[in-house]
């Protein structure tokens, strides 16, 4: 029987953890396992996750500075918090890969402020419909897919006017 990795008692609990896509096996005795499972369940907070995925950034982008709030990319790297909305433009290139890492996507498809101009409202509906179309095709829901396709081309024709 394998020994507990923290003390020398026999291990009775075998935990396979998947964190940030990495698989890790743990072998623990009963008391160590209890302690282990009772620690804060989500050990990595979102900001730690941000910091971790930022650790390998190039040095030369560190000097990027937002003219509006004065935040440098280096500062953002250090504390994981952006300074203002404009940072999303200034650090756009770096944020794209970061957001891809965190969310697996880089395009918003949710709610849009009612105040957004008509053109972008329409743009959003198209993005949303296309994403639903992809999902429908993946699920082999072809009737729904056909309906969505028609709705998309109608909306596109409308925009072209």
């Amino acid at each position: 029987m394998k020994k507990c990795e923290r003390c020398s008692k026999p291990s009775v609990l075998h935990i396979t953890e998947i964190r940030h896509g990495e698989v890790q096996a743990r072998h623990l005795c009963e008391s160590c396992a209890k302690e282990y499972l009772n620690q804060p369940v989500s050990a990595t907070s979102p900001s730690e996750a941000v910091a971790a995925s930022l650790a390998e950034t190039d040095d030369d982008v560190d000097d990027l500075t937002c003219p509006e709030c004065g935040m440098t990319f280096k500062e953002f790297r250090a504390n994981g918090r952006l300074g203002c909305a404009n940072d999303y433009q200034v650090f756009r290139g770096e944020l794209l890969s970061l957001l891809e890492n965190i969310h697996g996507e880089t395009q918003h498809v949710g709610k849009v402020p009612k105040r957004a101009p008509d053109a972008s409202q329409k743009q959003y509906r198209l993005i949303k419909l296309r994403s639903r179309l992809r999902a429908a095709v993946d699920d082999e829901q072809y009737e729904e897919a056909a309906r969505l396709r028609d709705e998309i081309s109608a909306l596109e024709a409308e925009s072209a006017d």
């Binding site: 609990l13 935990i15 396979t16 953890e17 998947i18 964190r19 396992a33 499972l37 009772n38 620690q39 804060p40 369940v41 989500s42 907070s45 979102p46 900001s47 996750a49 941000v50 509006e68 709030c69 935040m71 504390n79 994981g80 918090r81 952006l82 300074g83 203002c84 909305a85 999303y88 433009q89 944020l95 970061l98 957001l99 965190i102 969310h103 697996g104 996507e105 880089t106 395009q107 918003h108 498809v109 949710g110 709610k111 849009v112 402020p113 009612k114 105040r115 957004a116 972008s120 743009q123 959003y124 949303k128």
Partner: protein, 356 residues
């Protein structure tokens, strides 16, 4: 506003009603929003934060979505009062740090709470008893629309609602359910649940959110991704997985009852006995015993106590609540004595708070 009043009441979300409320303590939806043209709170100076606060307060005073909101500035509040708001789940621990410009608005039922100048300018939460995510979202969506008619949010076509931390960008939504899973903890099956949830990108946290301990066998399950999926899709992810966990917990409860009725009954009865008679008791032990009693009520092993009563004990036995009740600061050992007395009188009174 009079925070004293809070120690005599409980939030609506503790009432133990709504679907699956034996296992689902509460459902919650929160949105992160920022005002365009202002730096995010951590980057804003005191003057700017106060300007933002005034701007938002005006909106709250206009009864957005028909809500009558109590308003409370965090700055200048005694530390005990700030801790009380955390225990009530009206503000986060981060927000309880005294800083000029911080405020919270909440309705009398405590199902809506709006934090001003936390990590983002506005953090809104709607919380309800039982499994009721759709209701939470409907109310949240309407409130968000109402506020948006008075202010301009920071929003970008690609990244959605812009937030201080990129982990919240896009929808800015966090959808969560608080589950009471004593049987899965008892049988250690809970680790399988964690693994399964992590695989589908959901986070598991304790009673008081990020980084908190899993107290009283309560676990909060929430989405991690906020960008690239719609609010409704994210809600559906949680909604689809929760029934599986509920039925898993129920299956294990039934198996325990079937195979181990006597020892389970013994554990529940002892927990109830200690709570009714103890002379000094820590917060940790209280949570642990209350969890057994809550399970006992749901399994019909205890029949002279109601779920809402036990739900409110989880909150009312926390440190700041006890100290507010006693109207004085107490050391931990003194609190343990006061806590035991409070619980004894509460239970002797059939689950109603006594005037101490």
């Amino acid at each position: 506003m009079d925070l004293e009043r809070l120690t005599r009441t409980s939030g609506e979300w503790l009432k133990g009603s709504g679907a699956e409320s034996d296992i689902v303590m509460s459902s919650r939806v929160r949105l992160a929003r920022n005002l365009a043209k202002y730096p995010f709170p951590t980057r804003a100076d005191e003057e700017t934060r106060c300007e933002i606060e005034h701007l938002l307060r005006e909106q709250f005073d206009g009864r957005p979505a028909g809500l009558r909101l109590n308003y409370c500035e965090i700055h200048g509040l005694e530390s005990l009062d700030r801790q009380l708001l955390v225990e009530r789940q009206l503000i986060s621990r981060e927000h309880s740090q005294d800083q000029a410009g911080r405020a919270v608005a909440f309705n009398d039922e405590e199902c809506v709470s709006l934090m001003v100048n936390e990590e983002d300018h506005l953090r809104m939460q709607v919380i309800h008893s039982g499994l009721s995510l759709e209701e939470c979202w409907r109310q949240m969506d309407a409130l968000d629309d109402a506020l948006e008619s008075g202010v301009t949010y920071a929003f970008n076509e690609q990244f959605g609602y812009l937030t201080a931390c990129p982990t919240n960008a896009g929808t800015g939504i966090r959808v969560s359910v608080m589950l009471h899973l004593p049987a899965l903890v008892m049988t250690k099956e809970i680790s399988k649940v964690f693994q399964a949830l992590q695989k589908i990108g959901l986070a598991v946290r304790g009673l008081y959110g990020e980084g908190s301990q899993a107290m009283g066998d309560f676990y909060q399950i929430s989405n991690q991704v906020t960008l690239g999926k719609s609010e409704v899709e994210l809600i559906k992810t949680i909604q689809d997985v929760v029934p599986n966990i509920i039925s898993y917990e129920r299956r294990v409860r039934q198996a325990l009852i079937k195979e181990n009725r006597q020892s389970l009954h013994d554990q529940v009865a002892r927990a109830y006995g200690i709570l009714r008679t103890a002379q000094t008791i820590s917060s940790e032990e209280t949570m642990h015993l209350l969890s057994s009693v809550r399970l006992g009520i749901n399994l019909g092993l205890i029949d002279d106590l109601e779920i809402p009563a036990i739900n409110s004990l989880f909150i009312h036995t926390q440190p700041a609540h006890l100290q507010k009740l006693q109207r004085q600061r107490l050391e931990s050992t003194e609190r343990n004595v006061v806590r035991a007395a409070y619980i004894r009188s509460f239970l002797a009174n059939g689950g109603r708070p006594d005037t101490m």
